[in-house]
């Protein structure tokens, strides 16, 4: 394989019910930064049915071009038609780099595409960078350095794909910054029909059931009040929720409380949950296992309240309070409410 034949950076745009997932915008933004290092265009690859009009939203974050495969077989995500459509695009256009969100779709689609085109894939990256394949040799190719947590978040590993193309990565949602570019241009839109996609359908989707949550998505929250085992009982999440309400945020949780059935899985922060970077993260009764820290240590301000002064959460906290969170939190909420009432008066 002549790696020099592969050029450009592609981002798989995930849309569900004709709504682009936020990780896809994050990846277009990140892709823009990486592509500028290499003098590449950023191409967004949008798969779906009746989705062409979504293309215009991608230029704002730095997409130069949008390739659209619009086909009834792509209406709802299914592994095989999506794999086939994306593989055709990759084989025809020969990108150097392809990025996917590490979502329940991306982590299903990317391995199948990588298997079909026989290239490498690095999962769940949290940092991407362009550097020489051999940093000591400035005549070596400038390639993608993909860094990801491994060993349950205990170590970080930087992975390269030196001799196969495209270089492919899935990237954790919520990690890359979504930033609108200055002076966005209009993106070129290219329709890319793939013949016979309906023949690729090899499953029946009998039913689609959406989970409805009245609460704010923890990845969108500016303030998170997060509970660990130290809150003592499932009903104490209500106490945290009152603080979250007073601060205009929402509640999240450590894995232990999710596993214990105290709170829904979509509230879980950490290696096997979601990655969050709110303006402020208040960890209440969370000891701070490395798997938890992996999901929240990029938060702007970290506050920890824990009885155990040796809890690892204090190692990452900007402000720590050694004490019982179930005593501190209600008092704090009360004071905040008083302050808010004074402001109104």
């Amino acid at each position: 394989m002549n790696t020099a034949d592969y050029k450009g950076l592609f981002v798989f745009i995930q849309q569900v019910d004709k709504k682009i997932s936020s990780v896809s915008y994050e990846l277009v933004s990140e892709g823009r930064l990486l592509a500028d290092e290499l003098g590449y265009q950023v191409t967004a690859v949008l798969l779906g049915h009746g989705v062409t009009e979504l293309s215009s939203r991608l230029a704002k974050y730095g997409a130069d071009r949008v390739i659209v495969v619009d086909d009834p077989a792509l209406e709802t995500y299914q592994t095989e038609p999506y794999t086939r459509a994306l593989t055709e695009v990759v084989l025809a256009k020969k990108p150097d780099i392809v990025l996917f969100g590490a979502t329940a779709i991306g982590r299903d689609l990317a391995p199948r595409v990588s298997g079909r085109v026989e290239t490498g894939l690095t999962a769940d990256c949290t940092k991407l960078r362009i550097d020489y394949a051999d940093p000591k040799d400035t005549s070596s190719d400038r390639i993608l350095h993909m860094t990801r947590p491994a060993f349950g978040g205990n170590i970080m590993a930087t992975i390269l794909c030196p001799n196969h193309r495209p270089q492919m990565a899935t990237v954790r949602p919520g990690v890359m910054q979504r930033t609108a570019v200055d002076n966005p241009k209009e993106a070129e839109i290219e329709a890319f029909p793939v013949a016979g996609l309906d023949e690729s359908i090899n499953i029946d989707i009998l039913e689609i059931v959406k989970k409805t949550s009245a609460k704010m998505d923890i990845q969108d929250a500016k303030i998170l009040v997060s509970g660990g085992r130290g809150i003592g009982a499932p009903e104490n999440f209500k106490v945290l929720e009152e603080l979250a309400n007073a601060l205009g945020g929402t509640i999240s949780s450590s894995r232990a409380n999710v596993d214990a059935g105290w709170i829904e899985k979509d509230r879980q922060v950490g290696q096997t949950g979601k990655t969050v970077r709110p303006d402020m993260y208040i960890a209440c009764g969370i000891s701070g296992a490395i798997q938890h820290l992996a999901g929240m240590e990029e938060s702007e301000i970290i506050v920890a309240i824990n009885k155990d002064p040796s809890a690892p959460i204090f190692e990452v906290a900007d402000y720590g309070v050694v004490g019982d969170c179930m005593k501190v939190v209600p008092r704090l909420t009360e004071e905040l409410k008083k302050l808010a009432a004074e402001k109104v008066n």
Binding site: D108, N154, I205, Q271, I302, L336
Partner: protein
């Protein structure tokens, strides 16, 4: 019905600690276990066996000591176990690993192949779908429930905000979430038999048909360039005072940072 379950022996990453002064990983004394998602997959297979009769084969790829999880599988109720072990398999990334496992499965009878969604040491979730890709089979990832109806399988497939109930014709590859099934305990008799009479088949490089260019280090498109421990951010301001003073401290910081 023939069910093949793929499992991996992993270090129990929950028990790994970092040396706070050197920042090094303390690997000593970390127990090895059957990867939790894989164990849920094995349990789901055993439940199908209990319900409608099936032959359950558990396979793993790894060093000779990976046989431990196969013995555990036998003690839980697996009918046959297979260890894929060879120096030539060492250094395989997910693509090469899946090529080796797929080559082994090609020699076996199967109606259903179950892998765990992801292993707790690598967390890639790639090997299951890549096995399916090499075998040209349907894969259904993130399975939370499954049932067999004649020659079809019906799977509850999880997404972040929804699930799809999917029906597919066998054979298929399923990747199991831990929620799929709660693993049973080994029985004392099962443990006894697993160690005394349990047969472990071992296949090496010569036992499978696969291109040398697709396995091991040579067959792996990705390379680990370096690995390192994360720098923990500097310790902030910690107070150990009574509740009222703690609240005052936090309010003051919220003001300073314009949170309130």
């Amino acid at each position: 019905m023939n069910i093949i379950v793929c499992a991996k022996q992993v270090p129990n990453t929950q028990e790994v600690k970092l040396d706070q002064t050197t920042g090094r990983l303390m690997r000593e004394g970390v127990p090895s276990i059957m990867n939790p998602d894989d164990k849920a997959g094995l349990e789901a297979a055993l439940q199908l066996k209990d319900k409608c009769g099936a032959k359950v084969t558990l396979l793993t790829m790894g060093p000779p000591q990976a046989v431990e999880i196969l013995r555990e599988g036998l003690a839980m109720g697996a009918d046959e176990v297979l260890l894929l072990s060879d120096k030539a398999f060492g250094g395989s990334d997910t693509l090469a690993t899946s090529s080796i496992i797929a080559a082994a499965i090609r020699k076996m009878d199967y109606d259903l192949i179950i892998t765990g969604r992801q292993a707790i040491d690598g967390d890639t979730a790639q090997v299951g779908p890549q096995i399916a890709e090499h075998l040209g089979l349907v894969n259904i990832s993130y399975a939370e429930e499954l049932e067999i109806a004649d020659d079809h399988i019906i799977v509850k497939r999880q997404y972040e905000d929804r699930y799809h109930k999917i029906k597919a014709k066998l054979p298929v590859v399923i990747t199991a979430l831990a929620e799929l099934a709660t693993p049973r305990y080994m029985t004392p008799g099962g443990i006894f038999d697993a160690y005394r009479t349990g047969q472990v088949t071992t296949w090496g490089r010569a036992d499978i048909e696969v291109d040398d260019a697709k396995i091991g280090l040579t067959g792996s498109p990705t390379r680990v360039f370096r690995s390192f421990t994360k720098d923990l951010k500097g310790k902030g301001q910690i107070v150990n005072v009574d509740t009222n003073e703690s609240v005052e401290f936090l309010l003051e910081k919220f003001h300073e940072k314009f949170i309130i």
